[in-house]
Subunit: 413 residues, 2 copies
């Protein structure tokens, strides 16, 4: 059986952390100088591992196997959030590198083809999931022309300045690339809460985002009796209570909804709010449930406008994101590897977060696996995973990758 | 009976509006150049009316009657909010000026003493209610040394630059000044809603302000199941619902409470809020009810901390402001004048807003009267009152003032 080298894996993970290390966390925004330096380093490590590696025309690092036969792509991202953790994305890419090396060191697996990818800008510094979207053939040139970061720098200018603008872009090779594996930290607290070490992802949840704008009447908070107020803030609070009831009736244990932002206007202690906005996001693995929640929300809005002195307008933000099922056959390889290496310590679960895998799944069968996040924390400097879990996860992924490729090779030969 | 001159009153109100006029509203922040110019103009008008007028050491314009005998002080303020209306405060001062003139034009009232005041900085550009606080003998020098406006200018420097710092300050004259009348716009919608023209103020309500800080756990909004969340924003919403129930049981029709400002941290759609603050103000005319509401709030906080996964801390902001009763005998003069001039078109009501009268009441009997605000709007450029109501209000105030002074003179002689 293929064996990874835990010391080599951890050393490379820590070297990558050095690019943008900030306290225990990392600040390595897509295409920033420190991110570009990390990409050059990664190209070097891939090349040493025998891959044909380069940075492509959008910034993705792609290491192509020189072996023939069906290829498994293992990838994730090495860019971070503005205050990012050291493992979010980075761990999956380093797993891919270590697995390519480990397979090449064993006779039974030396012939297998593993491509390794670090997709650019998963975190959306300029344009979220850009690398994977470009890889699957989405027309991203409009995104590239229009996208800017928070400092107002244009993506097109940044690619030009980095000398990447003219380069070829990594693209899906139909027939050769036959499966995608994305290992990742869980970024939630479920594995830890029930004492499991590996999550086999069934579905990446879908997502809806909306803004609800309440319009009442701004008034003096001392002189306006409660009975004649049209308090937009109080209406917002009442609406959330009704929404919690309605969503609670539709939800299962994995359904989530979040009011992450609220704004009252004018935001003064002495003024009855005349306007109030809330930002709502909800996620679920079941497309029918997402639609039922949308209908329930629209009905609440209609009912509110029919009966309340404050009006509310529902604005949809962005395109809806539909749930994406992971490939069951690939997932079974992960499950078998997990059961062999950590019997009873794994479970099947949805991914509540978005990942490049949901994009790659458009062109080939895709799967994901999780390792536990300490305290469920991610997108934060203190994000971490026990080293034993990092190492176990890579051994599970390597075992599953070999198993997938041996089966796929048998089918293709 | 004393008769005011409606044309003279309206002309002076419009002249005063000219200082800082901005569209239909006025920007005349305390001690700004345009406010100082308005004060100089006001001193001139008071002098023409026969008063001994000057700007005092804190900026208050005080016009002292040259008549002997007990004096009625009529006052309000001519400074405005950052986006102020043309009548808030200004109307009461112009009433005082017109009443001093009108009384001097009639044989039966020519001997009566009316002092007229425009108290500095009622609106708190530097230090709220400064002029009336100085007048009643509060030690305001600490306020003057410490106070700055939003631009960071120090009050002490501004008084120095205006040449006011060394001047004597107007002070309450015990024995001579025996009553205070403050006419004002309602700044609320009650008179308009029930079709009344005059409000006779019974009490200026007391006020409590607090911040409630909820502390939960910041988490990824996709990967954190509802069951293990500690969502500070959701806790805030649940708390408000319980508070509304508790306050609703204690309230009468005049009790008001307002959540004017809410902040969720970090305020992102994809992050479960880890902290949330709400700013609460409540007002009532009954000190016992204010205390009962404080107790209910403290009990809700205790109960919440005992049972909820999110903790809440109650922080009291500023000193509590206790309700101030208006003098019933003075109010009766206003009520009789209102009934004589507008039979059935007046009512007794609390003032939901703060006024200089609540400060002046510390040293002498004080009363207030209101005229309707169109749409209940104040602290806004579109603040207005029907001219008929402005004129009627001044005639009622003049009649009441004469009646008060004739009675007080009889008592003192």
């Amino acid at each position: 059986m293929v064996k990874i080298d835990p010391d080599r894996l951890m050393a490379d993970l820590k070297r990558l952390r050095g690019f943008g290390a900030t306290g225990p966390g990392v600040v390595r925004l897509a295409l920033s100088p420190v991110d570009l330096a990390a990409r050059e380093w990664l190209v070097g490590r891939m090349t040493e591992a025998g891959l044909d590696a380069r940075i492509d025309g959008v910034g993705t690092v792609f290491g192509r196997s020189r072996n023939s036969g069906p290829a498994l792509v293992i990838g994730s991202h090495t860019d971070t959030q503005p205050t990012g953790g050291w493992l979010d994305g980075a761990m999956g890419v380093m797993y891919g590198l270590e697995i390519a090396r480990a397979l090449a060191e064993h006779d039974a697996t030396r012939h297998l083809a593993v491509d390794v990818a670090s997709w650019i800008d998963e975190e959306g510094t300029f344009s979220g999931l850009l690398g994977s979207r470009s890889f699957v053939g989405e027309a991203v040139d409009d995104s590239i022309r229009g996208a800017t970061n928070r400092q107002g720098e244009r993506l097109a200018d940044v690619l030009e300045a980095a000398g990447l603008a003219g380069r070829p872009r990594a693209r899906f090779e139909a027939g050769r690339q036959v499966a995608y594996l994305e290992p990742h930290i869980e970024q939630g607290g479920r594995l830890e809460a029930i004492g499991k070490a590996i999550g086999v992802v069934t579905t990446i949840v879908g997502l809806r985002e909306s803004r609800l704008c309440f319009t009442g009447q701004r008034n003096h908070a001392g002189t306006t009796p409660m009975a004649i107020r049209r308090d937009a803030g109080a209406a917002l609070v009442a609406f959330i209570a009704r929404m919690n009831d309605a969503f609670g009736q539709l939800a299962d244990a994995d359904t989530v909804w979040t009011v992450g932002r609220v704004e009252l206007d004018p935001g003064s202690m002495s003024v009855v709010p005349g306007a109030a906005d809330m930002y709502l996001q909800f996620r679920d693995a079941n497309p029918a449930r997402l639609q039922a929640m949308e209908r329930a929300l629209a009905e609440l809005v209609r009912d509110f406008n029919a009966h309340d002195a404050v009006s509310v307008e529902l604005q949809t933000l962005d395109e809806p994101i539909e749930p994406v099922s992971m490939d069951a056959t690939l997932a079974e390889h992960i499950a078998r590897a997990a059961e062999a290496l950590a019997p009873g310590q794994w479970l099947r679960m949805p991914s509540g977060a978005a990942h490049d895998a949901q994009v790659i799944a458009r062109c080939m069968p895709a799967c994901m696996m999780f390792v536990p996040s300490i305290g469920g924390v991610s997108h934060d400097f203190i994000e971490d995973t026990a080293e034993a879990h990092i190492v176990l996860g890579c051994q599970v992924a390597a075992t599953a990758a070999a198993s997938m490729l041996l089966q796929l090779s048998a089918r293709h030969s």
